[in-house]
Symmetry: C3
Subunit: 431 residues, 3 copies
């Protein structure tokens, strides 16, 4: 097995280790998740923000503590047991203990008629209610009678937790990576996100040098990104040159992309370029198809250049937000590795995206440097054409990314050629 | 019958009342037409400009007075009788009384070989001559012999007349509407124009408030628009933000559009937007297809943003500029109402085309305001997506019209959503 | 025979007169070629630049003197005789006299397996070696045995020569024409270039007046253009408004175009316009397809607006850079004349490309000037529409070239209409 295959396995195993933890907006599951990540990234800071803290138009909610929950049918069967699958309980369910008729119970049950074998993922963070999620198949078998409901939960004053890792580079300019850690046991949306992000952070930490500083956060979705923005807005606006929201990055079905609100930020340009060379069939959505934390990062007045590079987008695959979004069937090591690599490529493209300028007027004499055949005959020009194209576009006004687009070649190849030209002192660089 | 159907009838009846008046560039028919309009719009000012007045490169022509005109055939039949159809006499025909052979007469006859049952519409405003217009069918029956020709007309020093109505609004910025009243008995080109314009003016007058001031003129084509421009150029250049030339607005066959010379003025953008939502198949012509008073309004150095919203364009339907352009067959109440409504929609779009700016950083908490479901489950986002899209584009740089285009929705719907968001203090407006 | 046919013959005969001269980067053949051109253009200055002169990143090479060269086969046949076809010897071959086995000889032979009847064109200007070019057919007949090789050549300190002709105009602004004179006996690439350029220069000299000054050079490719640039860079950057590299301009197969590096310079716009009206099927290449002296003229920091108008582009026809690129088969009088005319049209378009501005507000009264029918009836507007279109675009912001594009008409027709409008004082001109 080569090291790439190894990395696919490692990613998959890490996702498996996160699977059983009971994540929500807040609570013990979030903290356990962050500690599992910190085991790989020792410099991860785990931050807590108290319940009730004002966050723009919102307030940090209470912390949800849940020990157990289930229903006993009239036949005495224990169903919807939280211990079996944490999706069975509506997120942030209030405590309840009581007996109900089937009719009364139905108001508290959630299932998907179109996906009879799936337990849906349902939450009620900001309005107090309780409920259970159940497969449609099971629900149809429920008989009239008295049901005993038990939810041992609490909503307490506590904290919202998130993780932040700053990896310093040669400049204060930042690349921003964000992923979320608030969904219970689902694989593509969400474990692929923190998994790939953790290993990208590990790779970045191990790089001998970096041009950019990296700001990487693991947050609960929406309230987490709003909280992070409210605490760091000025610094983010000042420093972030590009950023990606990392989610749905672990299946093998496709590659896709949601641009930032600007649609043509550096993040967008790099993402489109890298995706095109990984998968010419990648799907570009519009900003109107957004649906994750980019909604906050790109909102008016915040305006960060945050794009989403994904495998198959949230909402675009049938298992999304159900118990069917599983490791093994939806998310695989190969899928995670593909996702990891495409974002790694985007980061590499950004790191080396300098603007070359020819040092010599007119075409240089490439032959005397051994860069060009000295015997001139029909057809030879084709072989060195790409190098000459890079030189002709090295006018100090266009970055390697723009040159790569003009030459219709991957930026990695343009960067390799630029390295050669730089070594021969035929170009210099500016930012 | 609902009120919309009522309005279609009212429009049609008003056009009928204008039909018999003998309009030309100048003269009694024009004044009667303006008085008929003034009966609906009491504040209409009727202005007179004396013959000989210098108007840019032109001079206001003499006033044409015609009492009667006809031809007596060798068989004693009275043909081409002005009293039967005012199209029979070439507009601005000089007086004539005499006897001619058929051969001599032919030089003064105008007919359309391709449309044998149509009397063509012919004028000679600036070169003195006389002539008759006749159907090709009738012309073919004329036999050799002596014809008695009688034209009782005069070209006298008099006035060019036009009507002007200013309806003040909250600002001095103006919307400019222009239509023409110089064609004799023809329905789409021209009675649809003054008819729809009269009722748009009536509707505007009755509005409880208006952002814009409306400048509405009823003029003879070309010399009238040149005259109006020469008297009001500075004020027009200073104040007019958008404008429409209103013609060919009463048939049911199609919707069409000629842009202003700029091609992308506010008038053009609004017209394209509104037409697209009324009829996705609407026909957009180019500026090179112009042919009415926009030729003057948009000419170099004048440069007003005047576009033409039409049903079927002049020149694009076979009955154009002939006696076949009739009420009932070409123009209908439904056709006039459709034309009225599309220009009304354009005006409404302009009136409310503000630029929203979100008042809150990040997405607001819509749930606590009852604008968003508090139970979060698969698929719910779609229901509130348009409101969230309007919010995300409310960055203070784009008007509702631009937001409507980005959201691919009619501006009326965007304006409704903006009203809700404004009522909840989630957006503020700038112009 | 009309004069256009005459000119085709003249062009063809001039190309024939250049055919036998042994051109290379330097040497007697170049000087003879320049003197043959000077016989048509007496003001041509022939300039010499000594061997070793530093030219940007290059040095002017030694002068190549060759008297004779051939191979004697084991059977005593004299093959690859320079006297028979100067393509037989690799350009800049070093002197050699000796006996070799067939195997040793093979390393010095060049042929084209895919074009068995063609002698390829091969050079080695900057690395000392010797070699022969031979048809693949002949090469296959060579038998084992001892071959006698004889090359009587010298590389001496001498000069690089080029020709320069300045034809002054009313302004110091320049149109720049460049063609090359370094290829031995090949017709489309290269004799069509100096042939057409010579006769364009003759035509320009004979014009009674010119707006622009013309700078026309006949140079060896690459080192010649670099040399010319290094001696004239500031003046070129300051004065050249448009320019064309003239090559492959004599066959009848197609018209084609390589834009300047800017892609949208005045040269590019004029070339595209003129080509479209000569041949709507003309082929536009991208800057990445460049391959002649525009590589130097447009390089970063030099940035001249030099485009290439061609018949069939170098590399795009099978005979290119072989002995099959012949007068008569590839290049014809008709082909040369077509090439001459299209560049002439481009120059004429540039000479008269003024910006009109209407002198009258509103449309002028065309009827009183006899420019418009005084009888107004259905359909007449079409006849004068183009003149009215030119007037409507005469707003002082767009040149005739832009107006021609908007009106979808050849600029020559727009220029004719502008002349009429100017004569009637309806427009004035600015540059």
């Amino acid at each position: 097995m080569n090291s790439m295959k190894d990395l696919g396995c490692e990613l998959y195993e890490f996702a498996e280790s996160l699977w059983p933890l009971n994540r929500s907006l807040t609570g013990e599951g979030v903290r356990e998740t962050l500690l599992t990540i910190k085991a790989i990234l020792p410099n991860l800071k785990i931050i807590e923000v108290p319940t009730g803290t004002k966050v723009f138009d919102w307030n940090v909610p209470k912390e949800w503590v849940i020990s157990d929950a289930y229903i006993i049918t009239p036949e005495g069967e224990k169903i919807c047991h939280f211990g079996t699958n944490n999706l069975h309980v509506v997120g942030y369910s209030t405590p309840y203990k009581g007996k109900l008729s089937l009719e009364e119970l139905q108001d508290h049950l959630h299932s998907l008629p179109d996906q009879p074998d799936a337990i849906p993922y349902v939450t009620s963070y900001y309005a107090p209610r309780w409920g259970f999620c159940i497969t449609e198949e099971k629900r149809r078998t429920l008989k009239t009678g008295e049901y005993e409901v038990f939810i041992d939960s609490q909503l307490i004053d506590g904290n919202l937790n998130y993780g932040e890792l700053i990896i310093t580079g040669d400049t204060k300019e930042e690349i921003f990576l964000s992923t979320y850690i608030c969904h219970p046991s689902m694989a593509n949306n969400e474990l692929s996100g923190p998994t790939v992000t953790t290993f990208l952070a590990k790779w970045l930490t191990e790089l001998p040098n970096r041009k950019y500083t990296y700001r990487i956060i693991f947050i609960p979705e929406t309230i987490g990104s709003l909280t992070y923005l409210s605490k760091n807005l000025e610094i983010l606006k000042d420093r972030v040159k590009a950023g990606f929201n990392i989610t749905c990055i672990g299946d093998e079905r496709s590659y896709s992309f949601v641009p930032s609100r600007q649609c043509n930020s550096l993040s967008d340009k790099v993402a489109r370029h890298v995706l095109k060379w990984v998968d010419p069939e990648f799907k570009e959505y519009s900003w109107r198809d957004r649906g994750s934390d980019e909604r906050q990062y790109c909102s008016p007045g915040i305006d960060l250049p945050v794009a989403s590079i994904m495998r198959t987008k949230y909402g675009a695959y049938p298992e999304y937000h159900t118990s069917l979004d599983k490791l093994g069937t939806v998310v695989t090591g190969t899928g995670l590795l593909g996702g990891f690599n495409v974002i790694k490529s985007a980061i590499e493209a950004l790191e080396k995206n300098l603007t070359p300028r020819a040092t010599v007027l007119g075409e240089p004499n490439m032959g005397k440097r051994g860069l060009y055949p000295t015997l001139s005959q029909k057809g030879i020009y084709q072989d060195v054409r790409l190098m000459m194209d890079v030189l002709t576009y090295s006018d100090g006004t266009q970055s390697m990314l723009e040159i790569a687009e003009k030459c219709d070649q991957p930026i990695s190849q343009i960067q390799e050629i630029c390295k050669t030209l730089f070594d021969f002192q035929l170009i210099s660089f500016s930012d």
